[in-house]
């Protein structure tokens, strides 16, 4: 916790999908860090590459897709080039996962107890009884009422919200350093979403696990994350402390995005809208990927791709608006 090495460091990550009509770049040189115990929100529209970033970190890109460049470091150890066997140990043991649909993470044929105890015992050298006690403790912590009795139930005995709590318990069973949560609340009802976010946030804070929270919902990010990373067309647009990015976004895309979200406190006549749509991966424009939709587009944006530029308070933004003339030619 005291070292300067970030828990997770992603450098220039490139993920490609070969297709009949050429190579599609789903992620294009994405870089970011997650510090110990930090909650990093990852937002973007569908197709922006946020889920693929998560899958790439845990080595679960579906073939024929593949990591075509870049590095992923976990506590100073490179993990993007591990063998499948060693990667499997990293998954679950050091990186826990929570997906959108709780049913994909739970085996319907086994009781919750079977699944939790198995996970605990593959990662910790303890007996059946001790593992069971630990499992009940975990279920208690994620807010399952009467955990001692319900632990022997099957997944289908639980409601959607309760299942997602079980999945969170399962993700944390091996005491991982990092939890990757991919749209953990999207399939749930509004009134249950807030409960799940609270549980995820509290239990990870208690155990010192960092969280990479992938979601399209800015509201969830605002309430949960310490920092937020905004992806656009497979590239990082902006990254910074969540309050700064939400209240004073620097990238024109983030600004547009924030303006387009209706809220319950303000009732403007029209929402700010970004013209057009995010380009398909086979038609990403030259230069900055956002340039055809950008209200502040400059000639340079059409030819040169902006890299992430450091800003105040540890923020970074990939936009030529913030490149000081003379520092970089252009």
């Amino acid at each position: 916790m005291v070292s300067n090495v970030p828990l997770l460091s992603v450098r220039d990550l490139v993920v490609e999908f070969p297709t009949r009509r050429g190579m599609l770049r789903a992620l294009d040189k994405v870089s970011f860090d997650i510090a110990e115990g930090e909650v990093l929100g990852m937002v973007g529209e569908s197709g922006a590459g946020k889920s693929i970033t998560g899958s790439a970190i845990i080595g679960l890109i579906e073939p024929p897709g593949r990591i075509a460049g870049g590095e992923v470091w976990l506590r100073g150890e490179r993990i993007d080039n591990l063998s499948e066997e060693r990667m499997r140990r990293v998954r679950g043991r050091r990186i826990g996962m929570v997906f959108q649909d709780p049913l994909t993470s739970l085996n319907p044929l086994y009781t919750i107890a079977d699944q939790l105890i198995e996970t605990i015992r593959t990662h910790a050298d303890i007996g059946e009884k001790a593992a069971r006690d630990r499992a009940i403790g975990l279920l208690d912590q994620v807010g399952i009422p009467a955990a001692r009795r319900r632990i022997d139930d099957y997944p289908h005995h639980f409601s959607g919200g309760m299942r997602q709590r079980v999945v969170i318990a399962l993700a944390l069973a091996a005491e991982p350093d990092l939890v990757i949560a991919d749209e953990p609340t999207t399939a749930l009802d509004v009134s249950v979403q807030a409960q799940i976010i609270d549980v995820l946030k509290e239990i990870c804070a208690e155990r010192g696990a960092a969280v990479m929270l992938i979601t399209h919902d800015m509201g969830v990010i605002a309430e949960t994350a310490d920092r937020v990373a905004v992806l656009y067309a497979g590239r990082m647009a902006e990254i910074g402390p969540v309050a700064d990015v939400i209240k004073a976004a620097e990238h024109p895309y983030t600004r547009g995005l924030m303006g387009s979200i209706p809220t319950i406190t303000q009732t403007g006549d029209r929402l700010t809208q970004i013209p057009g749509a995010m380009p398909r991966l086979n038609a990403i424009p030259a230069g900055c990927a956002f340039n055809p939709r950008c209200p502040e587009v400059m000639p340079r944006c059409r030819s040169e791709r902006p890299e992430l530029l450091p800003r105040a308070q540890g923020r970074q933004v990939a936009c030529w608006l913030y490149a000081r003339e003379g520092v970089r030619h252009g």
Binding site: E45, S46, S159, G160, G161, M162, D189, V190, S191, V192, Q193, A194, Q195, D198, H216, D217, M218, G219, V220, A222, E223, V242, A243, I246, K247, G256, L257, G259, S260, I261, P262, T263, I264, T265, T267, G268, D269, R270, L271, T272, Q273, I274, P275, A277, M278, R280
Partner: protein, 329 residues
């Protein structure tokens, strides 16, 4: 805001969710019924946007389907511009149908993948015989431009468009019969936020331009806040509260409305601390007795566990809650 264009009275819908006949006989089980919508009444005034909000199992989509005639009601009636829908048939029904339309949730399922966009938009025009020959073509081109696409897009197939563009096509189809009333069933919940903003803005522009009346169905309170004049809050098939939009968000009366508002994430980061919402929605096949919300309600009293609360008129709407009725709320 004038008279009522659509009036819904005591609308109720049951679904038979029994096991197959043979299983029932062998396992000696009676028929099982799910009450998706129970005794729902409201009216939609000409030119307004009336929203129905609710979570899963609230019956909001079932109400939408009954209003456009996709599902017959089990009880109650729907009156469109003074004309009851049940019992209307033939040519009268045809001319009634032309006046309402529907926009669906999933733009990937709501357009026939084998049809050209032009044919999709022209379907209502042809069905109602509103134009023929080259006129159809011109009208389709005009509609495509109205929704922000180009007349040349008529020759393309749906798969050539993004989700937002497809929803524009679906809107153009809905407009093509020149309706007065459009039922919008979660029209933006499958879209990304930046695209959602485009579609919501478009829908409001079209409402102003053509004087449309909307029934807007959504689970997203912020979207409803942005779109609706009046709002009905549904819980497990019953209306909990009906209110003017502004008032509902300022001072919700029904405890469920309050809970829903509390569950909305705080995007402004104003430091508003949400109250944690307790419990989950019960199974609609086996709802709690009395007020369906009572197991989660902070204001629960003995009476709530036994009786179903009747709607109580409040300033600009109604609330179905004993706490409100008794002045405890």
């Amino acid at each position: 805001m004038g008279d009522a264009l659509v009036r819904v009275e005591g609308l109720t819908r049951y679904f038979d969710v029994s096991k197959p006949w043979l299983n029932r006989v062998i396992e000696r089980e009676p028929k099982a019924w799910l009450t998706a919508v129970a005794d729902v009444s409201f009216e939609i005034r000409r030119g307004e946007t009336f929203a129905l909000v609710g979570e899963s199992g609230s019956g909001k989509s079932t109400i939408a389907k009954m209003i456009v005639g996709l599902l017959p009601p089990s009880e109650g009636r729907i009156v469109f511009d003074g004309q009851p829908m049940a019992g209307t048939a033939g040519a009268a029904m045809r001319s009634l149908r032309r006046r309402f339309q529907m926009i669906f949730q999933d733009p990937f399922a709501s357009l026939n993948p084998r049809w050209r966009v032009g044919d999709i938009i022209a379907e209502p025009i042809r069905t109602f015989g509103l134009a023929s020959g080259a006129e159809v073509r011109r009208e389709v081109g005009r509609l495509l431009e109205v929704v922000g696409l180009g007349a040349a897009d008529a020759a393309k197939f749906p798969h050539e468009f993004s989700g937002g563009q497809r929803q524009r096509i679906a809107i153009a189809r809905a407009l093509s019969s020149k309706p007065e009333f459009i039922v919008c069933d979660e029209p933006t919940s499958a879209l990304d936020v930046s695209v959602q903003a485009q579609i919501l803005n478009l829908m409001r522009d079209l409402q102003d331009e053509f004087g449309l009346t909307y029934l807007f169905i959504s689970h997203d309170l912020s979207v409803v806040r942005h779109m609706a004049n009046r709002i009905g809050v549904l819980y497990l098939g019953r209306l909990a509260e009906v209110a003017e939009g502004k008032r509902l968000f300022r001072e919700p009366r029904h405890p469920y409305s309050r809970m829903l508002l509390d569950a909305v994430p705080d995007l402004e980061m104003s430091g508003r601390r949400r109250k944690r919402v307790e419990g989950e929605i019960p199974n609609p096949i086996d709802p709690p007795p009395g007020c369906a919300f009572h197991p989660r309600c902070p204001l629960v009293a003995d009476r709530c566990r036994r009786e179903i609360p009747a709607p109580v008129p409040v300033a600009d709407g109604m609330a179905a809650c004993f706490a409100v009725e008794e002045g405890r709320g």
